[in-house]
Each structure stands twice: as C-alpha cells, then as structure tokens.
C-alpha cells in the first residue's frame, strides 16, 4: 500500500487511513524516559513493525497502548475512540488485542479452552448465565470457530491437549490464534519470533501476513531485521523511547540513523 500512496518516510508522518493515532505519549521510570513519542500513526490493514535496540521502549509502548501500564502524559486512540486510562480488558474489547514477549499459554487449560476463553459475548461467563446454564448454544458456535482457527494455525490436532504441552513455537501460534478469537481490529504481537524453532518461522511469518490479508492491522515488535524486511509494509524505529525513523523496510534499512542506533555510532564511523 505504501508504495502506491508514497508516504514520506519521516518520523510522525500523517497517513491516509490511520487506525491508531498516538500523540505526545510519555512514560518514565525514575529518571529514565522509557517512551517519548510525539506523534505516530499506524495505517489500517498493514503489517507495521516496531524495531529498535534493547531498551528502546518497544514493549513499554505496547504496554501503554494496551492498558497494561499507565502513561505519564499523552493520548492515543483506536479508530477515533480515545484509549487513555482504559483498563487492559476493555482495550481488548474495543478491538486492540496483544500477545506477550514471554508467551502466556494458559498451561493447565486445553488448547481448545485457551481459544474458547477468548471468545466474546459468552453469556455463560456471567454468574447468572453460568448458574442458569444458558450457554451451550453459543459454546457450540464458538467451538466451531475455534476449531477453524486452530486448523488454520496447524494446531487442530492439539485441541484436546493441555496448552502446557505445546512447544515454544506452537505457543506463539496458539497465542496468535487465541487473539483472533477476540475479533480484534488491531493485533499487537510482542516478539512473535523469539525462541521459535527456525522450521516454524516461515509458517509464523505467513500467518502474520495472512492476518493482514484477512483485514486486520498487525503491529509487531521484532529484533531480527531479515524478518522485518520480509513481511513489513511499514517500519517504525524506536531508540531511547523516541521514534527516530519510519518508512518502508527498504528505505529504513539504508537509513544511517537506524544503522547507528542498532550498531552504535562507532560502527558507523569504522565502516565509513
């Protein structure tokens, strides 16, 4: 999409159809300014990756946006609706669902139950509905949907196993499939490739682009530049909490500020 629209690759650039807009977002821990984003927009129906060296504030940014941490200042909204001060569970209900860097499979639930627990509007999740027992109809529909997703992610044969029995890569896949059960507009993946067996990486990558093609917006944090190059439509580079560059992956790869941030200024000098 970006090529056609020719968005200028400068930090804070406006995009034609932003699904998430961030303004003046700040968070500090003691004296350390972990996140300090002036303006950032995320274009709808894209795979946007957020990269940056360790400690750049990528995960903190995720935590702030999804209500898992409280911002000191700033505002951000999803589809025009403000998300400031909204607790994490409501952020998810509004359509922004995240995964975690350290995968959080619900170990002592089956893979299928991991999926079903994420389903929306199940009346049996209210005490009244649970006691009256009026939930089986919805449960059947949810199970069908869950099994379809599990099949798409190649986990259907694991449906009745405990999620604790899944491998690291399978857990990443399960987390992604589970997030989809919430029917989000935006799906935020925190290092989806970390600790994944290389054999599974390709399948994970194609799942991520598949999410975009099915009409979701994907934002993900990643270290590996090769991975980023391969699947991102747009790349946002964070360093010390700030957006230092953004643009299409090939442009970012040539950006000297990015190379400096990643490899250190000394490396840049030595190479030149």
């Amino acid at each position: 999409m970006n090529g056609d629209l020719a968005i200028e690759p400068v930090p804070g650039v406006a995009k034609p159809d932003p699904v998430v807009t961030i303004d003046g977002l700040g968070r500090s821990f003691g004296g350390l300014q972990a996140v300090d984003v002036d303006h950032l927009e995320i274009q709808r129906h894209t795979v946007t990756s957020i990269i940056g060296p360790n400690g750049a504030g990528k995960t903190t940014l995720f935590n702030l946006l999804t209500g898992f941490d409280k911002a000191d200042e700033g505002s951000w909204d999803l589809d025009g609706g403000p998300l400031v001060g909204i607790p994490s569970f409501q952020v998810a209900r509004k359509g922004m669902v995240r995964t975690f860097q350290l995968t959080k499979a619900l170990s002592r639930l089956t893979v299928l139950d991991n999926m079903l627990v994420a389903a929306k509007d199940q009346p049996g999740e209210q005490l009244r509905g649970a006691i009256l027992g009026r939930w089986r109809h919805v449960e059947e529909a949810n199970t069908e949907k869950a099994m379809e997703l599990l099949e798409r992610f190649g986990l259907d044969y694991m449906a009745y196993e405990y999620a604790g029995g899944c491998s690291g890569g399978q857990r990443k896949l399960l987390e992604m499939a589970r997030a989809l059960m919430v029917e989000p507009e935006v799906i935020m993946l925190d290092e989806p490739m970390a600790g994944v067996n290389p054999a599974l990486t390709q399948s994970l990558l194609s799942q991520i682009t598949g999410l975009r093609d099915s009409g979701k917006t994907v934002v993900f944090v990643e270290h590996d530049m090769d991975v980023v190059q391969e699947i991102s439509d747009w790349v946002v580079v964070l360093a010390e909490g700030r957006v230092i560059a953004e643009g299409p992956p090939d442009v970012i790869a040539r950006n000297p500020a990015v190379i400096d941030a990643y490899l250190g200024a000394e490396h840049g000098e030595a190479a030149s």
Partner: protein, 330 residues
C-alpha cells in the same frame, strides 16, 4: 490392642458432621485457591462470620432461618470487603492481607468491647434449638450396627451436613464446568493473559472470593449448629491451614478433591489418635515411656509424616491429574 475400636473411631469420625463441615469449607477454599489461584490465608474468618452471623441473629431474637441467611450473607460480604482493597494487588500481598483480616476479625469478636454482641471469649450457646427440634429421628434411640452406632441427634446432623456437602459440591461443579469456571481457571494460569483477552479479571476474582466465602460461612454454621456453641477459640488460624491440607491432599482444582481430602484427613487423624491411645494403654513398654499427653503429640507427628508421604508420592493430590501437573511444570 483393640483393632476394631481403632476402626470404629476412624469410621465414626469420617461420617461425622465435622468431616462434612470441613469438606464444605474446603470446597469453598478450593474455588478460591484451586480454581481461581487466590492465596486466601484468612479462610477461617469466613467460617467465623458465618457461625457468629447465625448465633448473633438468634441470640437477638431473630429466627434460626433468618440466621442462616445472615450467616451466609456475612461470608459473602466479608469476601467483598476483603477483596475490594486487596485483589488489585499482586497475589502475595493478598495472601498477607488475608491473614491479617482473619486475625483482626477473631480478636474483635473476642474483645470485651464486643462482648454484648458476641459474648467475648465465652461466645454464644444454644442458638440451634429450632434446628434440632426438626429431628425426625428419636434422640433417645441409637442407630447403627455392632459398635458402629450414633445417637438420633447425631444421625440428623450427619444426614443434613452430608446433604449440604452434596449440594455445595454440585453447585461448584456447575460453575466450574461453565464458561465462568473457564475464565476463573484462566486467571489462575495467567491473569495478564486473561485480561488481554478482554476479561475483567478483578471482577472474576472478587466473585470467586465471595462465593467461596459464602460456602465457608455455611461450613462455619454447620460446625456451630452441631456444637450449639460458637467461641472465638474455635476459629484460630490453624483451621485455615488444616483446610489447606485437606484441599491439597484431595487435589486442588478438582471437584470432589476437597470432599475426599476431608474424609482421608479425618480418617488418618482419628485412627492414628485411637491407635496411640490403645498403644499407650495396652502395650506396657510404650505406656512406661509415654504419658497419654505425649502419646497425643506423637499422633500429630505421625499425621504429619503420613501427609508428607502422600505429598511426596502424589503431589497433585489424590484426585489431581498427572497430565495437568506435568503441563504446569513445563
């Protein structure tokens, strides 16, 4: 040695109302700890407010039936009061606060300041007459066979309390097998992940604490009705830990685990007790070296060792699933 006597003592304890009341209480804790993962170390306080809720209501002229409602409501309300300020904190803070809560309540109840209401250290007696009047069995009659006999009064209490065990267990099973129960278990596994899927984890934890609290209050009332007395000394912190032993022994996070745990615990406790009494009285050299009081202490030691062995060889509890335990360890 009278081996039959030992068996009789164990069996009568197992079927007795105290075992049933502990099973009910353990089921309440199991909902909180086994399913929702809440480390409630103040569980005995819920039993206390249930028992005192009933006793005070009747003592002040209310009916016994109103007392049952007040007692249960007191347990639910205590869950709300304890949960509101603490459940947003991390699990370990909740654990510490819950102990403090329970002790504050016990000390308040036994204080001379509250004596006009609670009877202070002496407690309240004789509030369950209207219950015992309903007894369909003849109180002057003995029921059973051989040496396994109970009075008509006990038999009524036994029947009623095991019905309560059945009803509360089926109620919990219904909740746990529903989507509500699935959310509760998900919170036990990982609260952040559950919140990230759009569930209001705080509200669910509060609900689990309140329902478990109401159930524990019912257990407290069963004990109080059986003894026709409430005293603060019966609600010491160690009761909480006995209930934990029962839950873990039977299998935390299983429907029937707390019931089986209570049965096994009672059986062990009272057979070992009867065994030590027999040993001390009938075997000369044991009688020479141990006084009856010392034999009682050895009993506690043996109960502890037995429980340790059970935990070493079956850490998931008697009814716990090995696969589930393995899924957890990975």
């Amino acid at each position: 040695m009278d081996w039959l006597e030992i068996l009789v003592a164990g069996t009568l304890a197992v079927i007795g109302p105290v075992t049933a009341a502990y099973a009910v209480s353990a089921s309440g804790l199991n909902l909180q700890f086994g399913y929702a993962g809440l480390l409630n170390f103040g569980h005995v306080a819920f039993m206390l407010v249930g028992a005192y809720g009933l006793a005070i209501t009747v003592d002040f002229g209310g009916s016994f039936w109103l007392g049952l409602i007040v007692g249960t409501a007191a347990g639910v309300l205590l869950g709300l009061l304890m949960g509101l300020p603490t459940l947003r904190l991390r699990a370990d803070y909740f654990a510490i606060t819950s102990i403090a809560f329970a002790e504050v309540i016990r000390l308040l109840v036994r204080s001379s300041w509250a004596e006009s209401l609670t009877g202070g250290v002496f407690g309240i007696q004789g509030f369950a007459n209207s219950f015992h009047e309903l007894n369909p069995f003849d109180v002057r009659e003995l029921y059973g066979f051989g040496r396994f006999i109970v009075t008509g009064r006990s038999l009524f209490m036994i029947v009623v309390s095991w019905i309560v065990v059945l009803v509360t267990t089926l109620f919990i099973a219904r909740l746990i097998k529903s989507p509500w129960g699935r959310v509760i278990k998900a919170i036990r596994e990982d609260e952040d992940a559950t919140a990230s899927l759009g569930k209001n984890t705080f509200a669910y934890k509060l609900q689990a604490l309140m329902i478990g609290g109401g159930i524990a209050a019912i257990a407290g009332m069963l004990l109080a009705i059986d003894q026709q007395a409430v005293t603060p000394a019966s609600y010491a912190p160690r009761i909480t830990f006995i209930i934990y032993v029962i839950v873990i022994l039977g299998g935390a996070g299983t429907i029937w685990g707390p019931v089986l745990g209570s049965i096994v615990f009672s059986f062990l406790f009272f057979t070992i007790d009867a065994f030590m009494v027999q040993l001390q009285a009938n075997v000369d050299f044991v009688g020479d070296i141990l006084s009856p009081a010392e034999a009682g202490l050895i009993k506690l030691f043996l109960v502890g060792v037995t429980l340790m062995l059970l935990m070493i060889f079956r850490p998931q509890g008697i009814l716990g699933s090995r696969e589930e335990e393995l899924a957890h360890e990975r």
